[in-house]
């Protein structure tokens, strides 16, 4: 599970690390991904696992569009820059939730019959739920892929360069807006991937984004803003902490462990574990 958190978080971290913008609507991106998976399944009977790439691609476009239409302007603000970003994306989150409620109704949905749903594998005597396992696998693959992308490809390096100095890159022929739009798209796609998989074993409803969103922010902050690896590591830590807490404390307090760990880490290292901001 931690790895899935990592996946969600990585998408967030990417966007943040790239442009110093925290996307408070990230949870809602997840929600959309889940709904998309659901509808693809409901109307076309495509198994979520197969439709995952499709969902990711759709989210990619969505993310890029959001950047171009909205975020780009938010970043131009000179006064209160931080607040503007926070509230713009937050407003977006609320609008998305409202739209979801309006169009999809607040009912809970779920995908009952999936290629993976409800099955378990036994590895070395421990029963593990298949969907989560696949999710974890996908996360790792996605992360590795992302790592190579950023560090080995030209485009990946363009992203890094744009992060370091958005003004200067124009001189080298890099279009800042294209890079950012891509970044957003990528971040959204990653969370889309997570959403598609999670749709298999979580209930889907308009507010579902909110509960995961906070964990995602904590994960990114824990790992340190600006570090993709940090987000991944954060995800793993969060997943573990959550599991341990669930054993020790009553279920409703499950998140307290995560929060406490965040506060502790950030007290000791105000920039998170690997943060560069």
């Amino acid at each position: 599970m931690g790895l899935l958190y990592g996946l969600i978080a990585v998408g967030l971290a990417l966007i943040f690390g790239l442009m110093d913008v925290t996307n408070f609507a990230h949870g809602e991106f997840l929600m959309i991904a889940m709904y998309l998976s659901f509808f693809l399944f409901a109307f076309f009977a495509i198994d979520p696992l197969l439709s995952a790439p499709l969902v990711a691609a759709a989210l990619f476009v969505f993310g890029a569009v959001i950047y171009l239409l909205l975020v780009r302007f938010a970043m131009r603000a000179k006064a209160n820059a931080g607040m503007v970003q926070i509230f713009t994306t937050f407003g977006l989150a609320i609008v998305m939730r409202g739209l979801a409620q309006y169009f999809f109704t607040p009912d809970y949905r779920s995908i009952p019959q999936s290629w993976l749903g409800g099955k378990t594998i036994s590895i070395a005597g421990i029963f593990l739920p298949e969907p989560q396992l696949v999710g974890a696998l996908v996360s790792i693959l996605a992360f590795v892929g992302l790592y190579f992308f950023i560090h080995r490809t030209d485009f990946g390096r363009a992203i890094e360069a744009t992060r370091e100095d958005p003004g200067a890159v124009a001189l080298v022929g890099i279009d800042k807006n294209r890079v950012f739009a891509f970044g957003w798209g990528l971040g959204a796609a990653l969370v889309g991937l997570a959403g598609a998989i999670m749709a298999v074993f979580f209930y889907i409803y308009p507010d579902v984004g909110a509960s995961f969103a906070l964990i995602a922010y904590v994960t990114v902050a824990l790992g340190g803003f600006g570090s993709v690896f940090g987000a991944f590591a954060g995800g793993i830590i969060v997943g573990l902490v959550e599991a341990v807490t669930a054993l020790v404390l009553p279920p409703s307090l499950k998140s307290v462990g995560i929060y406490a760990v965040y506060l502790l880490v950030v007290f000791i290292r105000p920039r998170g574990l690997f943060g560069s901001i």
């Binding site: 169009f103 965040y262 506060l263």
Partner: protein
């Protein structure tokens, strides 16, 4: 120049007095309970947002976890009342004190955080508070506390037959928050806060005690918000963790300030005057299955304001002098 400044200060005070007087007279004309309700909530949120503004607007430490203090105020008051028979008037002060102390206690380890890390920490702390209360048997856990109401009583600050006292209390609270802000704005603290917000390093070089400034802002802010929470508890007569410590309160305290003009004297009041009635009305009209509509309106408004007017609506009215030709 000083005369201009003093005149401006007096003008603000006079406007406030006039507005307060008008507000105080409205119950004579407005008898509709629903509208009264909206007015009471508007005043309360104006007061809350104004208080939030002290820490987050003036001092620049954006907190999205103020619901914690709201809830603490509510719970302290009601626990003292239902378990020990302490009158809510004293309970309110106790709630305020508790919140202020906790705000300072939290400040100690966490004021060193910058920007996003700090905001998330505030959210997380409020969530922890909520979860703790959710599991605290003595405080009612998830069932919450119901305040027993036996008829109208000023002593116990509960009223069944009329909402008027609540209205006046909310008005008083709003005025208090506004006045405190007005007073502190032109005080050493106000200047220190703004310096800390703009450039803590420079502030330090000018002898500003950055840490204590933040503590002071946090304490004042938390105290006022807690009193608001106590009020709310008495107003709705029932509290449980979600209904007084939920994230939505943290948001509702911040949004009016952002809308109206964060870090300004009138911003939160203006923002609340617009946002709260809008929220309540849309919820009222579109309540039910189409519930998302109020969120859509709400969210869109926030997005538009953030993009178009990062300094809030108030910036439409003030035109700062660009080229300073001397008077």
């Amino acid at each position: 120049m000083d005369k201009d400044f003093a005149a401006r200060r007096r003008r603000d005070l006079i406007i406030a007095a006039v507005l307060a007087a008008i507000a105080a007279l409205t119950p004579l004309f407005v008898k509709d309970v629903v509208v009264q309700n909206i007015l009471i909530l508007t005043l309360m949120y104006a007061g809350l947002s104004q208080s939030w503004n002290i820490l987050s607007g003036y001092c620049g430490q954006i907190s999205l976890g103020h619901a914690l203090y709201f809830g603490l105020g509510a719970y302290t008051t009601e626990l003292l009342f239902t378990k020990f028979g302490v009158l809510p008037w004293f309970g309110m002060l106790a709630g305020g004190a508790v919140s202020a102390l906790i705000a300072m206690g939290l400040g100690y380890p966490f004021f060193r955080l910058r920007g996003h890390y700090f905001v998330i920490a505030t959210i997380v702390i409020a969530e922890i508070g909520l979860l703790l209360f959710h599991n605290w048997e003595w405080a009612g856990a998830a069932m919450g506390i119901t305040i027993p109401i036996r008829g109208d009583s000023w002593l116990k600050f509960q009223f069944l037959r009329t909402k008027l006292p609540y209205f006046y209390f909310a008005l008083a609270l709003c005025c208090l928050a506004w006045f405190v802000t007005w007073w502190l704005e032109n005080s050493k603290w106000g200047f220190w806060w703004r310096a800390v917000k703009d450039n803590p390093e420079a502030a330090e070089s000018l002898g500003v005690d950055v840490f204590n400034s933040k503590m002071g802002a946090a304490a004042v802010s938390a105290f006022l918000v807690a009193v608001g929470g106590s009020f709310y508890a008495q107003f709705v007569s029932y509290i449980d963790p979600e209904s007084v410590m939920g994230f939505q309160f943290s948001l509702l305290m911040a949004l009016p300030a952002v809308l109206g003009g964060i870090g300004t004297l009138w911003g939160p009041v203006l923002g609340a005057a617009i946002l709260i009635p809008l929220t309540e009305l849309t919820r009222f009209k579109f309540g039910g299955s189409g519930r998302g509509v109020d969120l859509i309106v709400y969210g869109t408004l926030i997005v538009l304001i953030s993009l178009a007017l990062p300094r809030g609506l108030l910036s439409l009215f003030s035109r700062p002098k660009k080229t300073g030709a001397a008077r």
